[in-house]
Amino acid sequence: MGLISGSLLSINEDLLYTIPIMLLIIPALNSLIGDISTVLVSRLTTHLYIGTLPPKIQKSKRLIEDLYGLIITLLLSLISLLFIGYLVGIISGIRIVNPLLMIFVISITILLIFSIMFITLFIGAIFLFKRGKDPNNFLIPFVTSLADFLTPFFLILFLIMFL
């Protein structure tokens, strides 16, 4: 997955030369979505084992509380990331092309990937748990690889669409 992600970046090298701020924030974006999704998997697994979440695909108070908690963390982290990223970009003299559009593209990329992750991981955790497997063992490596692939993919896709 890492090499597929690298291939995506390599194919779109012109975009990286045009918008160098992308390279500055890609490691942080990958890490952000990977970390939040890992927390989600760990929490879902614990809830399933201790019985606070029923092993059924349905809404529950516990699931909604976790979803809101993680969305607030994700949004706060995203704001911090954009603020630190742009500050560092200005200080280090990295060219920032169309900052408002970049903020929009980065935000929808992260929110879209989190939505995909949340649905996939919720269904995946229940499916694995019902079959007697520990969701942590299967979903955490999967999450890391999927985040590494999806982040540059959607970022490049949206930049091509909107630029």
Binding site: Y17, L23, A28, L32, I72, I84, T144
Partner: protein
């Protein structure tokens, strides 16, 4: 207890760790955009970077978790640590070889950019990973030990800090490797 965590508690415990991780990753991004982007062979080099960054989760993460576990259950000895280091290095070198082989194949099949000798595709990930672990292993062991000695749970403290340290050192060691090998 996780079953009683409110959304506020989730934010309070997760956000500070995430902030540390973001700062480390932004530093890695500075190296990428300021120092690696100007290389002529950048289109080939960028092929390997995400794969090397993924190693942090797949190799360094389990090393940290095993060291924490050994400290917590009272099984941490020189022997267990050396075994852990040996296992991590063996896996890392094997992974480095695979990254090199697959990068070479991808380049021959899709990109056809012959900017680097084929041997460099293998050498760059192996040297880069080896150097990264020279920073990661001692720092995570020391952090684990200090956290444990101060009565903190190493599982909660070490990982977020090491995410930042590992991502930055991965890109830094990658840069060092390509400079040492004289990559154009």
């Amino acid at each position: 207890m996780e079953n009683q965590d409110s959304k506020g508690k989730i934010v309070k415990e997760t956000f500070p760790s995430e902030l540390i991780s973001i700062i480390g990753d932004i530093l890695a991004g500075i190296l990428l955009s300021l120092l690696i982007l100007p290389f002529n062979s950048f289109p080939i080099l960028i092929l390997m970077v995400p794969a090397l960054l993924s190693l942090r989760g797949n190799l360094s993460g389990p090393f940290i978790a095993r060291t924490s576990r050994d400290l917590i259950i009272g099984n941490f000895t020189k022997r267990t640590w050396i075994e852990n280091v040996f296992a991590t290095y063996t896996l890392s070198i094997l992974t480095g070889i695979f990254i090199g082989i697959f990068s070479t194949i991808l380049n021959f099949v899709f990109f056809k950019l012959f900017l680097l000798p084929t041997l460099y595709f293998i050498l760059i990930p192996i040297i880069s990973i080896t150097l990264t672990l020279l920073i990661s292993i001692p720092s995570s062991t020391l952090l684990n030990y200090l956290a444990f000695k101060r009565g903190l749970n190493p599982n909660n403290v070490v990982n977020p800090i090491m995410t930042a340290v590992d991502d930055f050192s991965t890109v830094f060691c990658f840069l060092l490797t390509i400079i040492m090998l004289g990559v154009p």
